[in-house]
């Protein structure tokens, strides 16, 4: 049984709704289905506005989907009552893109990491203190800095605090929404290494939402490509990078800048007319699906 199973998920937003006009309908997530196996890193890529962030939030019900199913260990998360949902969220956590705006500037690092433990009523004051220090060490921070405020940490350290908060409740599934894209190049690699270490140590399953395709190629087992709210291609990472099938995937991969001044550049431009919006995902080769 897959850990997370998303089927026919739809999220529509109404834009420009006024008293006497319905506005326009934005299909942010448009009938998306996929499943994530326990222990894997599942990559979700696509341009800004393709619906990948909304997708992640729908799984946690941070945004309520319009219709569809999200199953976690076989149970439909969308049917959960509020207390049940809260209990399940111990298992499902998220790390946000921007470590500057996702940490409360008025709380000390200690309080930020401890907060989920308090909310879920875990431990007492002493055991929580110990747990927070342990989490700090786990993400490579110095417990001597526990009483500092977010602004006293660098961007990379702040993202480590966000990670410590996310793993505080021993989740099995973590959504990483562009976790390193706002960090400096030399710091990105440190945080990526930490993510890989934590996954091994804590047996985590990741949904990795990203636009850096080099990074996705490096750490993901399977990748789904989103385009205008739909998944247009889904495949094991190597297969996707070796033989992209959908015109959008081809354009996307050909646009990655290569760190080699002599690399042949064969840019493939996407002709939107070539994209059949009604095509459904079909299996092109084993485990490789494309909407062509």
């Amino acid at each position: 049984m897959p850990l997370v199973e998303v089927s026919h998920l739809v999220k529509h937003f109404h834009r420009g709704t006024r008293l006497f006009s319905a506005g326009t309908l934005v299909k942010a997530v448009d009938d998306v289905s996929f499943s994530i196996e326990e222990g894997e890193t599942f990559g979700l890529v696509g341009e800004s506005g393709s619906g990948k962030t909304t997708m992640g939030r729908c799984i946690l019900r941070l945004v309520e989907p319009t219709s569809g199913d999200v199953r976690f260990r076989g149970e439909n998360v969308l049917a959960f009552s509020k207390p049940r949902l809260r209990a399940t969220r111990r298992q499902m956590q998220i790390v946000f893109q921007d470590p500057y705006s996702s940490l409360n500037p008025r709380m000390r690092a200690r309080q930020i990491v401890e907060e989920p433990l308090i909310i879920h009523g875990l431990g007492n004051r002493t055991t929580r203190r110990e747990r927070v220090a342990e989490l700090f060490r786990l993400v490579g921070l110095d417990p001597a800095h526990l009483d500092r405020y977010p602004h006293q940490f660098s961007g990379g350290q702040r993202q480590r605090i966000g990670l410590a908060r996310a793993i505080a409740l021993n989740p099995s599934f973590v959504i990483l929404d562009e976790p390193v894209s706002s960090l400096d190049v030399s710091v990105q690699a440190q945080v990526v290494n930490l993510l890989m270490d934590l996954q091994q140590q804590l047996k985590l399953t990741y949904l990795f939402i990203a636009h850096d395709l080099r990074l996705v190629e490096h750490i993901c087992n399977r990748v789904a490509v989103m385009y205008l709210g739909k998944i247009v291609e889904l495949a094991p990472t190597q297969a996707l990078f070796a033989a992209p099938q959908h015109p959008y995937t081809r354009a996307l991969l050909s646009a990655i800048p290569v760190v080699d001044p002599d690399a042949p550049r064969q840019r493939i431009t996407l002709d939107p007319a070539l994209v059949n919006r009604d095509a459904v995902l079909r299996e092109i080769s084993p485990q490789h699906f494309a909407a062509v």
């Binding site: 710091v187 890989m196 800048p257």
Partner: protein, 355 residues
């Protein structure tokens, strides 16, 4: 002016920020040259001083920042010695600046036609009526489809890629000889980035531009630059031809940057540079990179290293290349497990797996 004279020669440019702890150099005796038709890539992480360098060249640094020394020779004239009124004629006309975030760089309450035309009118190149006609030509030059219909669009009506095209059109309006592009594609999706890079390349040859291209992305550098200068903590630590820098980097920082790019065996640990960029005003003594450097040795903490030539037209500010000391191979050149390497690593196995 001879053909071989540089269009821009920055000499020992120093810009400090007055912090509560005292003046801190954000740009520290930076020197480089750009020749006609050449693209110089200026690479650095946030806080390295690359954007302050651009603003200093344009004399747009605002307090608490101030330029305290050096020269910015543009076509033989020192821009730092010009009166503000003369400088205003240079900005936008001879040297144009393209910013990273096209939404904030454009004025939301004027149409894009007005904003392009304004550049021409302000510099006395044209009347409003003629400028509007020229604006359409510029929008066509930057490949905005159906340009006349977009003349009266406001910035929010355009996509990010289109807005960046508008900014490029504005930059080209007065036919500048030098364009400074500060992270022009960082806010864009990778497919749009590719289109904008192609456009910049085309515009460069069509308008015979020299380009100062500022970015943190070495992949983008590989596609655009002829020469590269790597900045760290306000100083240029390595400079050379793009092939030489990317194929055979000399400075340990450049090597670290290149090595930390994901690639190689999937799932393997990345070769991260340990530590983080020092804060402005809190630079370590000597070479600013020394606390993070795998190749650190005795002289590194004494004084900032001068530039040593390492290859033709390629220099590195690193004591590893001091001809006075016998050649000392850098750690990354040593075979893993070799006695010298083990000794230098203090008998410890390397902290990260090296590819």
């Amino acid at each position: 002016m001879k053909n071989t004279d540089p269009v821009l020669a920055v000499e020992h440019l120093t810009t400090v920020f007055d912090l509560s702890t005292g003046p801190a150099p954000a740009v520290d005796a930076v020197s480089f040259q750009i020749r006609a038709g050449e693209t110089l890539g200026l690479v650095g992480e946030s806080g390295s001083g690359k954007s302050v360098t651009a603003l200093s060249i344009m004399r747009l640094v605002e307090p608490p920042g101030r330029i305290t020394g050096g020269r910015v020779r543009f076509k033989g004239r020192d821009l730092l010695a010009l009166a503000e009124s003369e400088m205003r004629e240079v900005r936008g006309a001879d040297i144009a600046l393209i910013f990273q975030e096209p939404m904030t760089a454009l004025n939301p309450v004027f149409t894009i036609g007005d904003q392009i035309a304004e550049t021409l009118v302000v510099h006395g190149r044209s009347t409003w009526r003629a400028a509007m006609v020229h604006a359409v030509e510029l929008l066509e030059a930057v490949r905005i489809p159906d340009a006349p219909s977009h003349l009266n669009d406001y910035p929010h009506q355009l996509s990010g890629g289109m807005r960046q095209r508008v900014l490029i059109a504005m930059a080209l309006a007065c036919k500048p000889s030098l364009v400074i592009a500060d992270e022009p594609t960082t806010a864009l999706d990778v497919t749009i980035q590719a289109q904008i890079l192609d456009l910049l390349r085309e515009m460069k040859s069509a308008f015979n531009l020299s380009l100062l291209f500022i970015t943190h992305d070495l992949g983008v550098i590989a596609e655009t630059a002829d020469r590269v200068a790597i900045m760290y903590a306000g100083r240029i630590v390595e400079e050379g031809p793009v092939r030489s820098i990317l194929r055979d980097p000399k400075h340990p920082y450049t090597r670290g940057l290149l090595a930390s790019i994901p690639g190689g065996v999937p799932g393997e640990r990345l070769r991260a540079i340990e530590g983080s960029v020092p804060a402005l005003g809190a630079l370590p003594p000597g070479c600013a990179f020394n606390p993070r450097c795998p190749d650190r040795f005795e002289p590194c903490t004494s004084a900032p290293p001068p530039e040593y030539p390492v290859d033709p037209n390629h220099g590195a500010r690193c004591y590893l290349y001091d001809p006075g000391t016998s050649h000392r191979p850098s750690l990354s050149e040593l075979r893993p497990g070799s006695p010298e390497r083990q000794r230098r690593e203090g008998g410890q196995p390397p902290a990260t797996t090296r590819r």
